[in-house]
């Protein structure tokens, strides 16, 4: 895929200075790889991930994904949505009926597993290299090849019958397609964002997602938000770590960087990466 190589720290439209965190997306095999890199590079305790900081850094790193790459970038955006969600879970005051599992736990487990896979890859790569140094006999004098149909067939009726049991009736297949049709469109989320900004200067991203329980809504809302900010209809800003993601309407014809900075000390998303 032709994901644009853009470092996380390339300045934003408003001329935010280049930060210390250079990330070349093309080096990464996917969101897990990127996330693991961010964590390992900063010597972060994987069991106590500063989710706010990592989320900011991750979002900053994928800023450079071009709109034309939206399809292939979906994996990075989905991870972004997951991070934003986890961050929200961590921040949300929760009714303390019961100690819930740390919202980061599943992510940590995935990261550890992925890291192990990468480790195993290293081992396999070395083995592959070692065995590639051993060559088999390169030439075999042509001999008559037995035709497949001449070989005795060992398949039993039990095999066939077992396969018969696995045949899926078309009925259920039909249902499945209906169930799985993507029900959340980006246009829908675009309308939701713009609609919510009618009469409001800004709105919290979390509020846009809150009414919907599925992760997909979060992903699509984030996608729509990114698209709208690309089209310069809105601005997304994130505050200091442990603050929320705010969506601002950009006035028609407004120049860059004229959105008044709110008194809460919010700053552009692009530069929220000073945590090193």
């Amino acid at each position: 895929m032709s994901m644009v190589v853009k470092s996380a720290s390339v300045s934003s439209a408003s001329g935010t200075p280049v930060g210390p965190f250079l990330v070349d997306l093309e080096r990464f095999r996917g969101p897990m790889d990127l996330l693991l890199h961010l964590i390992r590079k900063q010597d972060i305790d994987i069991f106590d991930i500063p989710i706010s900081r990592i989320t900011s850094q991750f979002l900053a790193a994928i800023e450079g994904i071009r709109e034309s790459d939206l399809d292939s970038a979906g994996e990075f955006l989905e991870m972004a949505a997951t991070l934003v969600w986890i961050k929200a879970q961590v921040l949300l005051p929760r009714p303390d009926e019961e100690e819930d599992e740390d919202p980061r736990a599943e992510l940590v487990r995935r990261l550890l597993e992925y890291e192990q896979i990468r480790e195993v890859c290293g081992l396999l790569e070395r083995l592959e290299g070692a065995w590639a140094r051993r060559y088999a006999k390169g030439y075999v004098a042509p001999r008559p090849e037995a035709r497949v149909e001449d070989l005795p067939l060992e398949t039993t009726w039990e095999d066939v019958y077992r396969a018969a049991m696995g045949v899926e009736p078309p009925e259920s297949r039909r249902t499945r397609h209906r169930v799985t049709a993507r029900s959340v469109s980006m246009e829908e989320k675009t309308r939701l964002i713009l609609g919510s900004l009618e009469g409001n200067r800004r709105i919290e991203f979390r509020k846009l997602v809150a009414p919907f329980r599925e992760k997909l809504h979060g992903v699509m809302t984030l996608l729509a938000g990114l698209e709208l900010s690309r089209r310069r209809r809105i601005r997304m800003r994130q505050s200091q770590p442990f603050h929320d993601l705010w969506v601002y309407l950009r006035e028609e014809g407004a120049g860059d960087g004229v959105v008044p900075a709110p008194s809460t000390g919010d700053q552009p998303l692009e530069s929220a990466e000073e945590g090193r």
């Binding site: 060559y135 088999a136 390169g138 030439y139 067939l153 060992e154 398949t155 045949v167 078309p170 297949r173």
Partner: protein, 205 residues
Amino acid sequence: MRAEQIVEALLFASEAPIRADEIARVDESLDEDVVERAIAALRTEYLEAERAFDIAELAEGYQLLTRPEYASYLERFDSVPKPSRLSGPALETLAIIAYRQPIGRVEIEYVRGVGCAGVIRTLQDRALVDVVGRGEGLGRPLLYGTTSHFLEHFGFRSLEDLPRTEELPVALRDPSEAILPEDEEGDEVDGEEVKGEEREPGVEP
């Protein structure tokens, strides 16, 4: 590294006969004469150690080949029937044909959700299924059914013997149920087939 060993490694791994001058090019320690002498030395070694192979001198160069007296074993090895089994997809396709015959390819593909042309051909090669007629619809599609060899192989006297129990999926149990749905589902099958062509440049040459 002795010259004999380098020459032997090259003769062993090469896919085609190679000339002495070609061999000589792989290392500064070699020239054509050295290679020729190494080949002569190897031949003597192989003869004395009664190796099953020898270096043949062909028009195009030298090549390691088994000695002719082992040919009969090699032929026997090839003709020793290696038992083969049907793959998972072939089993599933065979089951669908057995229970729903006569049935066309499009219907089979609809039930399985993937293209089946290759699998059907394998089953035909195996003489387990064959074309038994043509359907009514557009293009008069070929209809497939099981063969007498199918009955023989699985030990049935007739198709009546096929077990038909309640646990059998509906798609196979009820021959009256129309398998093919409306056209939009046909599109699904198409889509799957297109997907089958997709290639991934994930391997280095």
